[in-house]
Each structure stands twice: as structure tokens, then as C-alpha cells.
Symmetry: C2
DNA sequence: GATCTGTCTATTGTAGATAAAAAGACAAAA
DNA sequence: TTTTGTCTTTTTATCTACAATAGACAGATC
């Protein structure tokens, strides 16, 4: 096959979820906007809905005939893009499995294991190389540099520089900047999770990313914002992998975030710096502890 | 063709240059080491030398029969790798030619213009995207963000953070660290060029990169060192493109470098910071002046 | 015994082909 | 004015094939 129609399948599934809530479907261009796909794909989705007798579709009149059932959805394995599949598969190998620094990475072998062509693997490796975990020997293999202690220290060093600078910018944002509103919402979610920490502590990972990304974005610097991708991906997989004491760690981080948020809202540069440093220090320690 | 044999051609040319100096050729593995290629390529080179009656080759006995002539070399257009060709071609378009921010980039069109396959262009764009000048819309085109004033300001902001930190680390390097020796050599070249500035001012660009990379490397942080790639490529093409007052600008920068080097050698953190800031400030101004 | 050479295999770099998706044109309908 | 039906055209994502290059191993040579 030349191209998987995962865009279609994924958008179709999301459309069914929408349909479960509202009974009327908007116009084609509007639906395209909502699902983030082109009209061509929207029409393919509508056609399939009609075939499955989920809707009746006559020009502008789109009526939902019945609630979508689980069997109407495409299985979730079929909806992730190849890039996502490769990323997950690769990260599992290098973070969880015994992947020694210095190990050679073979494009063909990797492609075979994942079950794709070499081109996709190759493009993934090129994109991934900016994270500093692998390196290319031209005309030859890739070398795994590994998720080592050095890597973590170098990563956090830059992170700290960038986040301190971004936080300092944050307090200078004008009163009516949307970031303040978002910060309020994030704070509320923090309190909700903390109130029910035993059952909701797993939600921290996602919230953590949302909060720090907000801070980084206030730098208005594409290099700083882009760098956050590296932190996000490392912490994302790291949370999945290292679950020891997750509840305690997350509770502590939530408290630190609240102090940090309060400092931001006080708009006192000194307090912000202090709270930011404290949190970053413990984040670094957590990361380091998980490395042998 | 499936793969260009530029590695062979380039290594062949370099081998001829070597042969012009020494009359005896080392063993195959040694030659491979010297030229940075595998034995397979070395043997291909030797075979061609034999065919051209440049050497006689019988197992270990390799005798140079005659001096290589200009016509023996491959023309230089054939020795640059596809990636280099694409890079030059692309940079010319976006830095020199009328490339408006927001413009769409078309892989197929670009490939046709450069005369390569789409795969190589695509891989180039992926690699290049980390420089923040272009951005991908998934399932759709690339967008040129352009070499704008904002870009230059964001780039220099990060550069200044990184270089100040690296310079501070530099003064803490142990006395016997090879960087001190390299710094001495770089200083000497500065003085040589300054003494003959009218005819040698063009050599500044390369020296500039060598000096700043040395400083950045003392950070021992892969993210800081990798970031220098962005600065290097931008300044590299920028020097080629904007030649107004090149002599004066370079002379001034050389003087600033000398002050900066003296500060580093003094190992006085305060002086280093001052000299570094002064130079980075004028580098930033130079870059900004060239943007409309 | 160490290094070098002849030979062979494995892997990468690149081109070219093909299906999915986007993009869009334009007239007719709402 | 916006939406739809019906197209056609472009463009991307991905696969496959093949030459260049790297690398391995056994036997030859010093």
C-alpha cells in the first residue's frame, strides 16, 4: 500500500464521538474545520456513515438515524499514523528494553520489526535525532547514545535556563493576555486532582506538560518553545516507564506547581524565580533517580 | 541512478592531492583511515588510479608512476553530496531570492528544480526544519516562516544565553585542557588576518565559526553545541549574501574577538562576561541590519 | 603473530511508482 | 451568501528496487 488512510479512519472515529452527543451534523466545510481534515475526507466520512445507516444524508439535510455502536468504530490500532507507531515502538526499545549506549541501530531491521518500509523509519530517525539520543554515522548506521545520566543533566541544564527566562517573561505579560486565564484553569485542575489524589494522580503527567508548555510559550521564542518538545517526550515516556512512588512524586510536584503558580500570579520576579528553581530542582532529582 | 558515487569521487580527488606530495601509498586500511572511507571505496580508488596509469598496483606494492594532472581529477561539481547541493540551492532561494514568509514549499517542485528525487528533498526539509525557518503542515505542504527580524531576534536571544554560559565554563577549564592550545592558535590567526586585512578579510567567516564553536563546546552540553549548527548555517549564508562593508565589519569583529580572547585568557569571569556581551551585541546588530 | 588482501554480504542513499488526501474550480441549489 | 455535487489536479506518504558504500572473514604475506 502506498499510503494508509489513517487520517480518514481517525477522523471518522472522532466524528462518531461527536455524533453521539449532538443529533445534527453541520455543513461539510464546518465539519472539516472541526475534524481538521479537508472536504474530500469529510465527504468520505459522510458516505461511510450513510452506508452504515448511521445517518440519512440528502444535501444539507443530515439526520442521525441511530446512535453509533462500538462496532461502528475503526479499531484503534488502525487509527494511529505510522509515525506514532514507530515512535512508540522505538521509545519502548530504548527506554524500557536493554538498550546499551553505543549500540548500533539498523534501519532495515527496525523496519522489519515494526512492519513498515525503510523510508518511514529513516524519516523518523532523522526527526528523532534532534532529541540528542541518537547520532548518524554518514553512509553507515545510527548510534544510540542512550538515555544516560549525562543526557539528563544536559537536558535539565538547558531546561532550567529556558524556563527561568520564560517565567520571568510571564510576569510581564499584560493583564488581559489569555495566558492568565489559562493559568487560572490549570490551577483549578491542580486543586481538583490534589483533592482526589489517590485515584487521579495519573492525570499529572498530562497536566504537567500543559503547565510547563504555557510557561515556555510566554518566551515568544520558537527555539525555546521547540525545545520543550524534547522535555515533553522524555518526561512523557519516563512517566510511563518509571512508576515507582508515582503517587507521592506527583503529589509533591502538584504542591510545587501550586506554589509556582501563586508566585506567577503575584507577579513578583524574585518569588517566581525562587519557586521555579525549587520545582525544577526536584524535577531534575526525580529524573536522575530513575537512571541506573 | 540509485546512489551517486560522490563519496568515491571526492575521496579519489583527495587521494590524488595526497599522491602529489608523497610517492608511496600506504596500505588499504591505512588509506581508508586517512581519507575517511571504507576499504571498498579505497579499492575502487586504487583500481581507477591503475586504469589511469597513475600507479602500478600489485597487492602490497603500490608505486606512483606519474604526477596526477588536473584532468585526472573529477570536476568539483560532481564531488558534493546531494544533501549539500540541496542545502545550497534551498538557502539561495530563501535568503537571496524573493521568498516571502508564508510561502508554500512544494516537495515535488523543489525536487524537479534541483534535479533530484523527492525522497532526498523531503529528508532535507525534515532535517532543516529544526532551524525554525520552515514548518510542516501534516498531510499538506511546508510553510516558509522566513528569515525575518523576529527570527533573528529569537536566534540571538538563545545564542546569547548559551554563549555567556559557555564562556563562563571556559574560564573554569583546567590549565592543560586542549581548548587553551586551540585558543592560542585561533588568536594567532586573528592577528595574521588583521595584519593583512585588506586582502584577507574574507577568511573571517570561517575563523568566526571556529572560534565560537570552541567556546560553545566548553559547555559540554550537546544541546548547546548542537544549537551552534543553527547559528553557523545562518551566519555562513548570511556572509555570502550580504557583502556590504564586509571589510569594516570583519575588522571590527576581529578586534572584538581579540578582546574576548584576552578576557578568556585572563580567566576573570567579569571581564569575560563584559567582552562576550559586547561582541554578541554588535554581532546581533550586524545581523539585524541585513534584514529589510 | 600481526597486518594486509581477496572476496563476499549487509546496509544505506536515492530514484521512481502508487494510493490517500488535500486543494480547488465551478455551476447549481438552498 | 453559503453549501453542495461533481469534477480534475496537485501533493504528500509510503513502498520497492538497486547501486554505492561499509564491514566481516578467511587466507595470504610480512
Amino acid at each position: 500500500m502506498a499510503k494508509q488512510n489513517t487520517v480518514f479512519k481517525d477522523a471518522f472515529n472522532r466524528c462518531l464521538t461527536q455524533m453521539a452527543e449532538t443529533s445534527a451534523l453541520p455543513s461539510e466545510p464546518e465539519l472539516g474545520q472541526l475534524l481538521g481534515v479537508s472536504r474530500t475526507t469529510v465527504r468520505a466520512i459522510l458516505t461511510r456513515c450513510e452506508d452504515l445507516k448511521l445517518i440519512s444524508w440528502d444535501k444539507r439535510r443530515k439526520t442521525v438515524l441511530r446512535r453509533p455502536e462500538p462496532s461502528d468504530y475503526f479499531p484503534s490500532e488502525e487509527t494511529s499514523s505510522l509515525a506514532e507507531i514507530i515512535e512508540r515502538s522505538f521509545m519502548r526499545r530504548i527506554l524500557a528494553g536493554g538498550a546499551e549506549p553505543g549500540m548500533q541501530i539498523n534501519e532495515l531491521e527496525l523496519a522489519r520489526e515494526i512492519g513498515t518500509g525503510t523510508t518511514s523509519v529513516r524519516e523518523f530517525l532523522i526527526r528523532f535525532s534532534r532529541f540528542g539520543l541518537i547520532e548518524k554515522r554518514p553512509n553507515s548506521h545510527w548510534v544510540l547514545k542512550g538515555f544516560t545520566r549525562d543526557f539528563a543533566l544536559e537536558l535539565t541544564e538547558v531546561r532550567e535556563m529556558f524556563e527561568l527566562r520564560s517565567a520571568a517573561r510571564f510576569v510581564a505579560l499584560p493583564e488581559d493576555h489569555p495566558a492568565w486565564e489559562e493559568l487560572k484553569k490549570i490551577e483549578a485542575v491542580h486543586r481538583e486532582i490534589l483533592a482526589d489524589i489517590d485515584s487521579r494522580y495519573k492525570e499529572f503527567s498530562e497536566l504537567d506538560e500543559r503547565f510547563h508548555l504555557l510557561v515556555h510559550k510566554s518566551s515568544s521564542n520558537r527555539f525555546i518553545v521547540d525545545f520543550y518538545d524534547i522535555i515533553a517526550i522524555i518526561f512523557h515516556y519516563h512517566y510511563q516507564w518509571n512508576k515507582a512512588n508515582a503517587r507521592e512524586r506527583n503529589a509533591r510536584a502538584l504542591e510545587e506547581h501550586l506554589a509556582y503558580i501563586a508566585a506567577l500570579r503575584s507577579r513578583e520576579p524574585k518569588q517566581v524565580e525562587q519557586a521555579c528553581r525549587r520545582h525544577l530542582k526536584s524535577a531534575r532529582e526525580t529524573l536522575l533517580q530513575s537512571i541506573p
